[in-house]
Symmetry: C2
């Protein structure tokens, strides 16, 4: 059996996941809980961590490497964003390392910032580690579905640019807190409605998203589609819009898009890319932990 060498932690605002790994990143054991950063009181980060992973290593001999919102303002240590371009080597060089009072060695992976050509800012925390897991040659585009979806340009393994789309966050707000809430409460499984929404969102007719949003109300009023399809149409509309925006972001990138993470959302994005005839592949699960091992190796932690 492989020897445990590293504990990896993916610590988010509302969730905690940890794995015990060998030096090659093989996962020997895992745990997960709802002990997200927001639930930690009195800065009791160490206690939450040891409660979850202490059973693997009572001697506290193994280093912990962590990524995600654990380095945000509401996290254990707030760290500055690292500017792009950055890959595993730059992330390894920017680790925040310390030893807890209990004697546990901790290494925190910081997030990245990027300035678009027009000066507009973008940030990520956690996704950089997932991207570090990918073994991609040349220049590729990765999409990371989520509340704030990331579209990441990866050149020879390093992140050179990225953009964030507020898709999931906007979807929930528009579904539940605009006039659309009158017809989105009942949500039918309607793949064709989703596909129609994707096509409308990606259509560059100049109609614009604010207009397309209202059409989801007008179409229901005029009987163009059943009210119960509104939520799926809205979901498709926003994801289709996001994909069209991303095409402008990286028009020169060829090769299939790589869907990373996103869990249940990944299938939805795959379906949307199919609607638009865009080739795609899905990265292996546990990208966060696979990225952590690569960064830990680059930093000499294991």
């Amino acid at each position: 059996m492989s020897e445990p060498r590293l504990i990896g932690v993916d610590w988010g605002t509302t969730s905690f996941r940890a794995v015990l790994m060998d030096g090659d990143g093989a996962i020997l054991d895992r745990t997960a809980s709802g002990d997200g950063l927001l639930s930690v009181t009195d800065r009791g980060f160490e206690a939450v961590l040891e409660r979850a992973v202490g059973g693997w290593d009572r001697a506290r001999a193994l280093p912990v490497i962590a990524s995600g919102m654990v380095t945000s303002r509401s996290g254990w240590v707030e760290t500055a964003y690292l500017p792009c371009p950055a890959g595993a080597a730059e992330l390894a060089g920017a680790l925040t390392r310390f030893t807890t009072e209990g004697g546990r060695r901790i290494a925190l992976i910081t997030g990245l910032s990027f300035r678009h050509a027009d000066g507009a800012p973008d940030v990520m925390r956690g996704e950089e580690t997932q991207i570090a897991s990918l073994r991609l040659a040349g220049t590729r585009l990765a999409v990371m579905p989520g509340t704030h979806s990331k579209w990441v340009r990866v050149e020879d393994g390093r992140i050179t640019a990225f953009r964030t789309a507020m898709t999931g966050d906007a979807f929930a707000a528009l579904r539940d807190h605009t006039v659309l809430k009158l017809t989105t409460a009942e949500r039918a499984d309607a793949p064709e409605a989703f596909a129609a929404g994707v096509a409308l969102g990606a259509a560059e007719s100049g109609a614009g998203l604010l207009g397309k949003l209202f059409r989801q109300r007008a179409g229901s009023l005029l009987g163009d589609f059943p009210a119960s399809e509104t939520a799926e149409r809205l979901s498709g509309l926003l994801i289709g819009t996001e994909i069209a925006e991303a095409r402008h972001f990286a028009p020169d990138v060829s090769g299939s898009m790589v869907i990373v993470g996103g869990e249940a959302l990944a299938a939805r994005y795959a379906a949307a890319l199919d609607v638009l005839g865009i080739a795609h592949e899905t990265a292996p699960a546990d990208a966060a932990f696979a990225g952590q091992v690569r960064i830990a190796v680059a930093a000499g932690l294991v």
Copy 2:
């Protein structure tokens, strides 16, 4: 003193406004309340109406003409949308007329529907009456700020096309129910932040609205602007986006844009149009009642 000839009612979901007018539309008296359609129980529309306007005309000799959501599903009588093109004459021909049990003559103005070139639907209820008040030669574009802003193409006094943007509705949902709520609670008066948002929204850089939305979070995190400016930036971003979308809708229309209604929002739209160097003028207040008189005259009610 002019003789009362007509009672005009603008009956919305959450508000009730009525005026007493002479045959030329001069307003002799007015009343307003929160007796919107949603507050009417047991279909007691007539009682609410007479409580508001009965004092002007105990004999119920004057006709009432009403517009707004009073003809929607939650209104007094649900009426079908009239297709474009339509002006005062077509609206007069499509009035729903009846006499109440109490003997009051009622005429309800229905709303309009429109099909965009790609088949997508659009609807309005109430705005058609405000537009009927305008005396515009040639082809002009009117903007009606609101929860669901309308952009209306008016040709020789008739509405030939229109589009709706879910701007105000989306603004409130995004401000209060996404990550932006963390920095929009405190709202500074910041005209420059609003102007910067307008410029970003109208910029056709291909960045896209879903990306621009997240920049309002990233910019605050990176210290590009004070968090307290986020709400004004968001407001500008959405209005700027809406104006850019409308340019695609009616690229051939020249002449200054006409801002109709919208009350407090009208000044905000005027400021946004100034930022973008677009000439504009503001229609007289009480456009709904002025439109009602024209339609009533066309229908022979007065």
